[in-house]
């Protein structure tokens, strides 16, 4: 019988997240971010967080909510910006920022979950990203050694999930969620629709439940769009 990962809701899911912890959060821009859990972190007021997320939200949504409340001490991301408060805190030195090539960020999270402590990648060779890192040639091409990333908690958002923690993501809202789900000491999954174990096709699951410790059905998803681009009859067809 499948293990039951359900918790009563977002409060139970986020229990144990404390000041100073490292938290990974899925999403690309505002697409596929764990909206409910971010709201709960804001409500809890946990501070001095190190957040690992591809982006840092916008001023009034996503991780921007935690930035505004000064709950984040360090941000590990590939692309920030779209966020005035972020800029202010970074320039004033209130916020540490560690920028990582996007592919290395994704692979480092996967590695963290897969028990691979380090791997070589060509990304960033010859740039400041490579400073202090081991360089080695493979097939005549220089590569740098990158290490795994893990977190006390990983928080992901899925489209559907079952009580065993199995997850299915929708379209490009998948992005960093599967790799981060693997890398969390405790992984929290919030889903739009929670179904009983056995209701999902075992062939179609993106994240196996073994990577998920807590799952709950979220509510009131705002799903904000950053760049609403529409094609007109004359363009783009």
């Amino acid at each position: 019988m499948a293990l039951d990962k359900t918790v009563s809701g977002v409060e139970a899911a986020c229990q144990g997240i404390e000041d100073g912890m490292t938290v990974m959060l899925g999403g690309f821009g505002l697409c596929g971010i764990p909206e409910c859990s971010i709201g709960e972190l804001a409500r809890l007021g946990v501070k001095d967080l190190t957040c690992i997320s591809n982006n840092a939200g916008v001023d009034d949504f996503g991780l921007g909510l935690l930035l505004k409340a000064r709950q984040i001490r360090k941000m590990i991301a590939s692309y920030v910006g779209e966020n005035d408060e972020f800029e202010r805190q970074m320039l004033s030195g209130e916020l540490d920022v560690d920028l990582i090539p996007q592919g290395s960020l994704a692979e480092r999270c996967r590695a963290g979950g897969a028990g691979i402590p380090a791997f070589f990648t060509p990304a960033g060779f010859g740039t400041e990203i490579a400073e202090g890192k081991e360089v080695r040639q493979f097939d005549g091409k220089p590569h740098i050694l990158e290490s795994a990333l893990t977190a006390d908690f990983a928080i992901v958002k899925a489209w559907k999930g079952d009580t065993a923690g199995n997850l299915i993501f929708k379209a490009t809202a998948r992005n960093f969620n599967p790799a981060m789900a693997m890398a969390g000491g405790i992984t929290i999954a919030e889903v739009e629709e929670l179904v009983p174990a056995g209701a999902l096709d075992p062939n179609q699951i993106h994240t196996p439940g073994i990577f998920v410790q807590r799952i709950f059905q979220g509510a009131h998803y705002e799903r904000r769009i950053e760049q609403r681009t529409i094609s007109t009859a004359s363009s783009n067809k």
């Binding site: 090539p101 592919g103 994704a106 809202a173 363009s235």
Partner: protein
Amino acid sequence: MLDKNGIAQRIAQELQDGTYVNLGIGIPTLVANLVPEGMQVEFQSENGILGMGPFPSDDEVDADLINAGKQTITALAGAVYFDSATSFAMIRGRHVQLTVLGAMEVSQSGDIANWKIPGRLVKGMGGAMDLVASADNIVVAMMHTNKRGESKLLPSCSLPLTGVGCVRRVVTNLAVLDICDGAFHLVERAPGVSVDDIKAATAGVLIAPSSVPEMQL
């Protein structure tokens, strides 16, 4: 001299039938609408889609379906979604054959700088460092000079690098240039632009053959 659409039109001629292409933000994005008739090209967006289609109509908009520029998009028949680690496996593993991206500076040895200006806000490199370190064919689409009229084609980059020795070709508002053996090699002139104009706007070593054809757009 070309405008941004003209640069995109010229870049579209770099597309090859049956290939996978990643387009960066800005001018490269325009290329998606300029695929030559009868040519099959599939666009990858590094946030997790192959087979990216045009922008949606108003009632097709889906917050869960965006490109790496965070714009709402559609998916074509045969499209597939995947996670970020798989996406960069495609890129790093050289399955994406052509990457087109913008740049602040390109050097005559093929270095590229496009992510950071010291002293100004740093927004991050996103996927650019992975992209330029990986694809066999990296084409830069950019204006030949910056807003202060200074050349962006340099002996060596002054800005922090995104990648080293990776750019094969540069398409600007003035010219098409190949990079090899430590020099920019002039391949084509933009309509109405002379070789002397291009020389004047190029700070790096420029090698021009006796006759340089004009672009055919």
